[in-house]
Symmetry: C2
Subunit: 356 residues, 2 copies
């Protein structure tokens, strides 16, 4: 039986609109193939929000977000702000605020490997083969949301790295539950040899671990984890970590998948789920039909599975992508020397190929 869902699309900045368009096209096709009824709305965020309303997260966007069943997001950021450290209003504030307002405390980032892309990575195929990692990055705490301050003479600046017990508990439970349904191994990453917030993190994870005796827990320092991820990515299964460490590790891990252009993420928590590629706004290639739409399409697969419980539909999407890759088609970012030049596709052609 078909289901009815209302989806908010937030294209955002840079390549966001181009890639999101293909995510939406895939949603439409899935709806008609499986008899679901998806309705859509669209809203502004980031630089696009600032341009139109002066606000990186316009009130209207937040209202629409709360009223929707799931959100498909594109990308955020603009070079203009990156090189102006004194800008008061910044695109990223929109993303941070919506994460906080919707209570999206758990950011799931699966690192899955398409066999065909083994060669696109800078890591050796033998190192990569068999890698399958699911990151749980805490998303509404840490130094991202702790108090920021700048001295009056502007010569001193600080950010408070802070965690509360309940924040660690709730994401730890989610990560352990996921570990139970996977290979029953969980690695918690912190810097407990130096940071008090990490010592709280480790204490709480040690406690929660007792409730999941079937899961094997390892604790690792962030510096070591950043190293091991390159050295031997296969050793990781579920990785649980704080907001800042997760930001760094998951971007690093994207190289395992051959390209950031292949990675999707799901942010979940108290309410509406939020789905987005992990890549950025990539202004240098925006509007040129060069961006890889696959991460946005994979974000849609995550939405179908996680927010709507539609496993078959999600599987249909990853299988379609698999076929396209097997047939040798690539976007520029995942092409390698073995790719036939006529099989290097733009955003549009790749999107259409997946639809077929």
């Amino acid at each position: 039986m078909g289901i009815k869902k209302h989806i908010l699309v937030i294209p955002g900045d840079g390549i966001g609109p181009e890639v999101t368009a293909w995510g939406k096209a895939v949603l439409e096709q899935i709806a008609s193939a499986y008899g679901h009824e998806f309705t859509y709305d669209e809203a502004l965020m980031g630089h696009a929000g600032i341009e139109a309303t002066g606000n990186p997260l316009p009130d209207e966007t937040l209202e629409k977000a709360k009223a929707s069943d799931a959100i498909l997001f594109g990308a955020i950021g603009h070079i203009k702000y990156d090189n102006d450290p004194s800008a008061k209003v910044r695109p990223e504030q929109g993303l941070l605020k919506i994460r906080k307002e919707l209570g999206l405390y758990a950011n799931l980032r699966p690192i899955m490997l398409f066999d065909e892309l083994l060669d696109a990575s800078s890591l050796k195929p033998a190192v990569l083969r068999g890698t399958d990692i699911l990151f749980f990055r805490e998303l509404t705490g840490d130094v991202y949301f702790g108090e920021k301050s700048r001295s009056e003479d502007r010569n001193t600046a600080s950010d408070l790295m802070i965690y509360h017990r309940y924040e660690v508990e709730r994401i730890a439970h989610k990560a352990y539950q996921a570990a139970q349904s996977r290979s029953k191994r969980l690695c918690s990453v912190d810097k407990a040899n130096v940071l008090e917030s990490s010592r709280l993190w480790r204490e709480v994870v040690q406690e929660i671990a007792k409730q999941y005796p079937d899961v094997e827990t390892e604790h690792m320092f962030i510096d070591n984890a950043a190293m091991q991820l390159v050295k031997n990515p296969k050793k990781f299964d579920v990785v649980l970590t704080a907001n800042l460490f997760g930001d760094i590790l998951t971007d690093e891990a994207s190289q395992i998948a051959g390209s950031m252009g292949m990675l999707a993420s799901a942010s979940v928590g108290d309410g509406t789920g939020f789905f987005e590629p992990i890549h950025g706004s990539a202004h240098d290639i925006a509007g040129q039909d060069k961006a890889n739409p696959l991460a946005s399409i994979l974000s849609v697969a995550l939405m179908l599975e996680i927010s709507f419980g539609l496993k078959d539909e999600a599987k249909r999407i990853t299988t379609a992508i698999d076929h396209v890759l097997k047939a040798g088609y690539r976007t520029g970012d995942i092409a390698d020397t073995l790719t036939q030049p006529d099989k290097i596709l733009g955003t549009k052609a790749m999107g259409e190929m997946v639809l077929q």
Copy 2:
């Protein structure tokens, strides 16, 4: 003409004593070959300091450190504390305190590639070849030294990530000066799209950059840098970054050199220079004649060059290591499938091989 120097050796924990012994042996050989007079003293730090005196940095060690011309350090840390987040006295405190007390604000970590070890890395040789990075990690500020707090109910913990203008200025000058004598490219890594302390960092680096118009500056977010380092390490030359980000990036970068066992670091600033391998105490292999002594020996090369201005002597050491590697000898950590089994050496045999 020979020079006279007094060197403090701090073996530290785990494999520290075994590897440091070979660093010292190389110093002795260099002294006699070049007619220098090096005198030595030894002191405790870390777990070794706690065991003997209850203090991870005994007063006597600090006094000896201040009275020496350079310090050769081994490694720090003990598994016992890692899994006990509530331990009040921790080995690492000794290392952090000596960095602060000696004003060692700049940690230099060269990532150099021995051609023979290209295959030991998990990255593809084609990605690696030609990589030559010099990290400048700020070492006495950031969330490492900002105020830590734990609420009375123990449910909230925090660390202050904080930077002062002068802290960024002094290390930026050092990094720019190094860039001038290298390929004139500098990449500063921060998270200025989210953190106020990073925005100060970026502002200051932008200002200092104006004083070095011959150096090309790039600013990169830490998540992107962690990714680019795997994707295309060659694109980096001098990398300037904060304490925490530097900790993570340099460990990650160690995989480029094939192993942490090959990387040395120099910490310099207001007074006595401090030289150490970037690897940890590796208790799992301590005392088993398995540790790679090359990072300690390379630390000695850095000492000779940076603290004593002895370039030829330093070069002699790296050349000796190069010869040993070319002859096919490896310790276990840098051996690969092509290594002849009888050329896999223990700590002692590798140390002796380099001396010859």
